[in-house]
């Protein structure tokens, strides 16, 4: 019955909000185009990495796709009615914020905000804690967590609402290698659980370790969208080649 209602409301046969279609997307601020003519399609499954130097438009693209910003041009379309698709996504922002309460209470906050039925909350909380490796810290006050643990808590808070798509904006930008490895492990587990992960990074190593497909951005344009393996084996654009060689792209 619920499935039927969902299909009638406009979701596809499998009730998925994917694929995500982006066509001619542009964003202008203070008279300047920060993002121009970006088009791509992302299908269910795997980890898509938006790669490029700072200021390339990666984070902006994530925010536009998640509906946090209104495009100045072009279209972001999901497979479903706009009012419902946001509820099937979650986003982890670059600077993780934690509420002054326990790890578990931080997750409870997200569940309440998304109006998840009480009966489902406990199981979801346990799953999110397990996937992010925070089970042992369940009752610890969140502000006493290490920086890496806070990042994992932010991921758990996104994952606990069982999104179909999770956006991660530069998730490890301020982390040391050990914390980065722990967070990347959690990201892999989230993706293995069937959640589509779309993350932005300027860290080549991270893109190599995580990406199933790479979307390479430079100066507000999408220059390449290709499976990760072929991107790293033979990038098509001079900008991507330079970036892979470690040259500075401005």
């Amino acid at each position: 019955m619920a499935e039927g209602a969902r299909s009638a409301a406009g979701f596809g046969e499998r009730g998925s909000i994917l694929p995500l279609r982006v066509e001619g997307l542009g964003y202008r601020a203070r008279g300047e185009w920060l993002l121009r003519d970006v088009s791509f399609t992302l299908r269910a499954g795997g980890i898509a990495v938006l790669l490029g130097p700072n200021g390339a438009g990666k984070s902006l693209t994530l925010r536009l796709c998640h509906g946090m910003l209104r495009p100045s041009g072009g279209l972001v379309s999901w497979n479903g009615p706009p009012a419902e698709v946001r509820g099937r996504q979650a986003m982890v922002f670059q600077r993780p914020r934690v509420l002054r309460r326990s790890v578990r209470a931080n997750l409870a906050f997200a569940l309440r905000a998304r109006r998840v039925p009480r009966a489902l909350r406990d199981a979801r909380t346990r799953e999110a804690l397990a996937v992010t490796g925070l089970d042992a810290l369940e009752h610890r006050p969140a502000h006493r967590l290490s920086e890496g643990e806070r990042h994992r808590l932010a991921l758990a808070r996104a994952f606990v609402v069982e999104p179909e798509v999770v956006f991660l904006d530069e998730p490890t930008a301020s982390l040391d290698p050990a914390a980065t490895a722990a967070l990347e492990g959690a990201i892999r587990r989230v993706a293995a659980d069937g959640t589509k992960v779309i993350l932005s990074t300027h860290d080549l190593g991270q893109a190599r370790r995580l990406a199933d497909e790479v979307l390479f951005f430079h100066r507000g344009r999408l220059l390449e969208k290709t499976p990760a393996e072929s991107f790293f084996r033979g990038p098509r654009t001079p900008e991507a080649r330079a970036f892979l060689k470690g040259e500075l792209l401005a």
Binding site: M68, R86, F93, R97, L99, R100, R101, A113, R140
Partner: protein, 234 residues
């Protein structure tokens, strides 16, 4: 200098022998100020949080007015309230003038702007920090408001203390609407003012010492509760 010594000795003596009149005055002071504080928090916390979270035309003017009202001279408010509550005033039929209720009303009106303005500032800062997260999760404004009030609980305890400070130290307004009637509306501050007028300076100072000690104890108690909460919950 000897007046200060006398005052300390007298304060200790008054407290030591549990002077019934002093205890009555202390009890009334606490009853009036704590009641006013609780009622002011019931209005000021949600009002301040709403101003911090909701955006509407005239909001900036409302915030400016609220901030200005923090400095409202109590004597002016007392006078206005006196006119409203006096027999010929619009609320004269309630017969509240020269009762503890009128004093609670005066302190309530004085404390609301303090609690509301400080709450607005704290909640607005937090809201700026959390707005994206709330929007991403699809949390409505009302849900955000409650979450932020809880999140700001430690800062709000400080706002509450500031409100209590204003209430317990207030003299002008409660003197006008309370009348400083013995056994009915006499509180610590009005008693101090009266003893000073009578020239009983060391008794006035002794009462002052008791008032300061009382205020200090309540503040210390609330701070201790705050610290315990911080330790327990992080």
């Amino acid at each position: 200098m000897s007046e200060f010594q006398d005052a300390f000795v007298q304060a200790a003596r008054l407290l030591g022998r549990a002077d019934p009149e002093l205890l009555e005055i202390i009890a009334l002071s606490l009853r009036v100020s704590l009641t006013a504080l609780v009622l002011a928090c019931a209005v000021g916390l949600p009002m301040g949080a709403a101003l911090g979270v909701f955006r509407f035309p005239g909001r900036r003017a409302a915030v400016t007015l609220l901030n200005a009202l923090m400095g409202l001279p109590p004597v002016v408010l007392g006078l206005a309230l006196y006119l409203v509550l006096s027999r010929s005033g619009p609320l004269g039929f309630l017969g509240l003038l020269f009762t503890p209720t009128a004093m609670i009303l005066a302190q309530w009106l004085l404390v609301i702007p303090i609690v509301a303005a400080l709450t607005r500032q704290v909640v607005e800062d937090l809201h700026e920090e959390w707005e994206e997260e709330f929007r991403s999760l699809g949390a409505g404004r009302l849900r955000s408001l409650f979450e932020l009030l809880y999140e700001a609980r430690f800062q709000l305890a400080t706002a509450t203390l500031a409100g209590f400070g204003r209430a317990i130290a207030e003299v002008g307004a409660v003197l006008i609407v309370g009348g400083n009637i013995a056994h009915v509306t006499r509180v610590m501050t009005t008693a101090i003012a009266m003893e000073t007028n009578k020239g009983e300076l060391s008794l006035a100072l002794a009462l002052g010492i008791v008032l300061v000690a009382l205020s200090f104890l309540i503040n210390a108690g609330l701070v201790a509760v705050q610290e315990l909460g911080r330790v327990a919950r992080g």
